[in-house]
Symmetry: C2
Subunit: 423 residues, 2 copies
Amino acid sequence: MNIYVFGLGHIGLPMAIWMALKGYNVTGIDIHRDQIETIREGTVAIQEHHEGKHIASIARDLLKTNKLRLQDTFHRMNDEPSIFVITVGIADRPDGTQDVSTVHKVVDTILPSLVDGDLLIFKTTMIPGTIDTIVIPKVQSLHKKIYVAYSPETISETAAFYELEHNERILSAMDEDSYVTAEKFLKSLTDSPIHRASTIKLAEMVKVVQNIDRDVNIAFINEVSEVALKLGIDIHELRQLVNTHPRVQLLEPGPGVGGYCLPNALKYLQLALDEEMRGEMQLMNTARELNNLRPIKIVHQVIKRLSEHGKGIKDAKIAVIGLAMKDYCADYRYSPALEIVQHLIREGAEVRAYDPLVPAYVIHQANSYEEAINRADCIIIAAKQENVGFDPVEISERMDKPAIVVDTRNALAPHPNIYLYKV
Amino acid sequence: MNIYVFGLGHIGLPMAIWMALKGYNVTGIDIHRDQIETIREGTVAIQEHHEGKHIASIARDLLKTNKLRLQDTFHRMNDEPSIFVITVGIADRPDGTQDVSTVHKVVDTILPSLVDGDLLIFKTTMIPGTIDTIVIPKVQSLHKKIYVAYSPETISETAAFYELEHNERILSAMDEDSYVTAEKFLKSLTDSPIHRASTIKLAEMVKVVQNIDRDVNIAFINEVSEVALKLGIDIHELRQLVNTHPRVQLLEPGPGVGGYCLPNALKYLQLALDEEMRGEMQLMNTARELNNLRPIKIVHQVIKRLSEHGKGIKDAKIAVIGLAMKDYCADYRYSPALEIVQHLIREGAEVRAYDPLVPAYVIHQANSYEEAINRADCIIIAAKQENVGFDPVEISERMDKPAIVVDTRNALAPHPNIYLYKV
């Protein structure tokens, strides 16, 4: 059976490959030609591994055997009933508002080619109500036997293949036939449990709440981290011990919340609600604001520590190591590290940024880790990456004294010549 | 070996009994004579069970064999090295401020009798720094070989015996000898893991953060519940599906946060911090405020639903069923249900409260569940209790029409004649 996967980003590409590895003939469609090009070339900037192989190399092998095909403009292969997996999500405009035209567009692209027996299965986070109000009316207007389902994806970037195989799945559908058809397809991929949501809107809400839960709990651990630093308590020892409680699972502290999913989740929920209710969501709103403020708080921490050692931020040499939105990842969308760099520049610091996986066109970078940390007054560790060492001896030798390190990732071991602040 | 357990409340009594069942000779001390009396009489108002037997009956059996002794004034049995387990916690004054004089008192009570080789082990939630600043100087002033340790208790009321046996334990001590001695004692009780905290202050912080984590996450799920109701989504179906995510574990929504532990935890943390830092804990402060407001929000929900059905709150007959601070529990300290009753009375409603485990002197109650719900305009379900049925047919027959039920415990099944609001 043919599968068409729409969107070949951090979710879509691993999914397309995974389905091809399961034996399906997969066509991946992405309107971004450069993304298609990097997949063909084997240089795609997505950090996923499966059975020891990098995703770029798996993709090339599948392309050679035609189990995976790529298109930048959608063409249907044949008229046999097929499966359309849609990982194209709601876009956000530069002003931070949401743009559902991407959903309209992808459905309008598929619609003219649909035949009886086709299944459309949507995977991305949606404003609760999107499938019911945008997708279903368009599909029903065809008066064909089309199946529509929603099964939100919960995989974590950098662990995509493992989690595609093992995560439990939520499924909801337009009608009973759609449910049965979609369930059969999901079961053919892996036998991890499938949980039925009674309505598509509920399933959309499930995914949004999962993301907001993590947003709130990251804000919480970061607040605990600030308190712990004040009390002279190691946040990581604290966290590890707190998590021995049977009903508590603190997340990791960090430099802020990046990536596409978590920062946008609250907006999706707000768009499903009226004005009055939006204002009443005090805890979620507070958590979001705090997460937005976290990068600048990290910068204030740096200014404070420099000042304690008689240094000003202006013209201080600050190395920001790790620019991706999370460890071992190439995704830099909404990365808090990039915000930290911007705030530092605004404060007059001389910033040397470095991340081997984030391209140079995104942000001016030092040529190497060593160049970034050489003679630095302060290092901010914002993300871990393979082969970026954080060796305390090397750091203490290369940095100007006193050597100040603000470590948001628990990456650096203590050293007598380093003032190490874990936040 | 003799064990003296100070405080025979919801934590101390199960612990004293558990230690006696493990073979120790246990003396339980509580300055509240009425508590001692109810334990002797077998009428103690604590809902715990072990191997099918109620705690009151286990206590009486142990009293008969002298494995458990009770004292309202502390007398040491002999001069052999003994273990002093202190479950007396920080008290709160009527104005909501904290009173550490209870900690001073219990230590001062024990101090004159201490001999070389005694172990003092503290179990309650403390303001981080309490043991270091209050307890240790007193003990050290004796110039004897006394061991001091802190191991915060994490057991959940109503599941005490199971959790005493199975929960992992945090342990920290004044010095290495104290640690070894306390660890040996804890290991003699059960083989669940023991995790060492590097300082006592850190261990105190662990317990406070565990409680605040739950406070924050209860505020979150209650906020999600309000949103879900607005969107016409069943909060319990939503929660169950959200919790299939590998990194998400939503707690249960409810009428508010009661009991002694969770509402006080944030105050303990604030007392360990300076004024400036207290104000900065925006997420924790917001969560606490929201949890404080939850009972009145439930009342506003009732007023709204009555109004939708053409009824006013004034003189409306409202049954509040379940008055304990949580399900199947006799503990009513800071119970949100009691606050709900007070708000309803203030609004002019005619309230019929009922809980078989909460004594009549706490609050005026109907004589039975049936009497409470008869001809009621609205029922608020605030806690579940054994033998309190929530049978939808009975409820719909006994209530005035339209029958409105605001269910904070997911206790009532839907019925065509009941307007059921799950919050």
